[in-house]
Amino acid sequence: MSEKERPRPRRRVDELGLRSAFAERSLPFLVAAMAFLGALAVAGMMGAQALARHWEGGGLATLTLEVPSPDLRAGEATRRERVEAVLRASPAVASFRSLEGKDLERLLAPWLGSGRQLDLPLPLVIEVKLAPQADAAPLIAALTALDPTLSVTENARFLRPLVVLARSLEACAALALTVMGGLAMLVVAVATRAVLAARRDSLEIIHGLGASDGYIARRVANRVGLRALSGGFGGVLAAGPVLFALYDLASPFRGLTAGGGGGPAPDWFALLLLPPVAGGIGWTSAFLTVRQWLRRLP
């Protein structure tokens, strides 16, 4: 067989004429807009989630004690030794440590500046980590009974509202994401219906030639799914610089929540999932829409 006679590999024939349907061509832009908003919502959700976890894990279950004049003797032991004895004996305490030296210097740096010799009569600061599900009230009562000048700060008191706020923000972002997903399905369904209306004759001819509902629906859904996928990539790419800018703006806040460990970083991998999700939503919505539309034909 000569080169000329040999059947050439063919580009997949567009039987339904979908390539020239306006609604189908405009779909990527609509999906890109939603993917852009979706990326912002995902980033917001991840940020709020990381903050809530950080606060829940590190802050809610801690007490901060300040022991003035820790080396002053009160009977047999110093004030510090008496407080530490109570902490060791309490089942509510998982661990505790005194903040000294560099820890204390870092804690006071915002007020006193760093690299200074601290000659002030500072109280002893003890960070107490509570056991899981422990009730701090008896411990606080025991400590204040032992030494009324002792200052006890229950971190949960001011962190709990912040955790609730972070969780609320996370829920709002998740809700926005869900609404956007539903909206994307609706937009794709409307665009698909417009494509079907524009290509009604072609669809009826192909149906009459023996194309199954599944075949027709897959042809349309594959095309729409690809368009949605490309729109999803476009939206996430467009959101990238905005998210980087927001991440940069939030750097002081990240420092505050760091607890010395760097703070919550956005999960960029989750954003990469958005385009395939957009493609999946597009494919599914188009497939179901076409199947439903075809029910009118016998």
Binding site: E15, I205, G208, G210
Partner: protein, 223 residues
């Protein structure tokens, strides 16, 4: 085989004016029938039931062993693949070439592309269009478009061909050429049903006649 028993049909469900009433007839496998009747007699509706584009609203219509009224959608898809349909307005896909229009039924049944190329080329040669493979329908004459439609209808070697006024948009010469193609297909064993206004064809190609009037079958000559 086609067997209609008291078939009725109407658009819009109960209470709507019936298009077909109590239509009963039988066409054996490989038979040829002319379907005659004035405009509005119900010819197209009767053909639509035969090629599974509509279900009867009364009675029982059996086509190639499939009960149209009760068949599943999957069974109707399989039935449509055994029937070639030719329309007065050709119903070709304007965005596809003549080649791709004819190849479409083969692609739908998953025939390998290499086989499709050979079969379609041969079929278009048979209908006298071997030089117009790449043309799109809008660039073809009415007669050429109808020959593409016939090639598409017979490319899968269907058991039955249904033609609804296939010569309605053609001049005398083209119309006669199309009729000769249909008669030739019938001679090769394919059942053919042709709805037409052109009674002149009956004398040139004699065959039994189904005559409809007001939705009723008033004559089943020679059946």
């Amino acid at each position: 085989m086609i067997r209609f028993r008291g078939v009725g049909f109407s658009y819009g469900g109960e209470g709507a004016a019936p298009i077909l009433r109590e239509v009963s007839f039988t066409v054996p496998e490989g038979g040829f029938r002319w379907l005659l009747g004035p405009s509005g007699a119900g010819k197209s509706s009767l053909l639509r039931i035969i090629y599974a584009a509509a279900r009867p609203t009364a009675g029982a219509a059996e086509v190639l062993g499939v009960e149209i009224g009760r068949a599943t959608r999957r069974a109707l898809v399989a039935l449509r693949r055994q029937i070639g349909v030719i329309f007065q307005d050709f119903r070709l896909l304007p965005h596809l070439s003549a080649f791709d229009n004819v190849a479409l039924p083969l692609r739908l049944i998953g025939r390998p592309e290499a086989e499709i190329r050979a079969d379609v080329t041969e079929m278009l040669r048979w209908v006298g269009l071997s030089s117009r493979l790449g043309e799109r329908p809008p660039l073809l004459s009415g007669g050429e478009q109808q020959r593409v439609a016939i090639a598409r209808a017979v490319i899968t070697r269907p058991r039955l061909i249904v033609a609804d006024e296939p010569t309605g948009n053609l001049d005398e010469v083209q119309a006669e050429r199309i009729m000769q193609l249909l008669v030739e297909l019938n001679r090769l064993g394919t059942g053919v049903i042709v709805a037409t206004h052109h009674t002149a064809f009956l004398s040139r190609h004699p065959a039994p006649v189904l005559r409809l009037e007001g939705g009723r079958l008033i004559d089943e000559d020679g059946a």
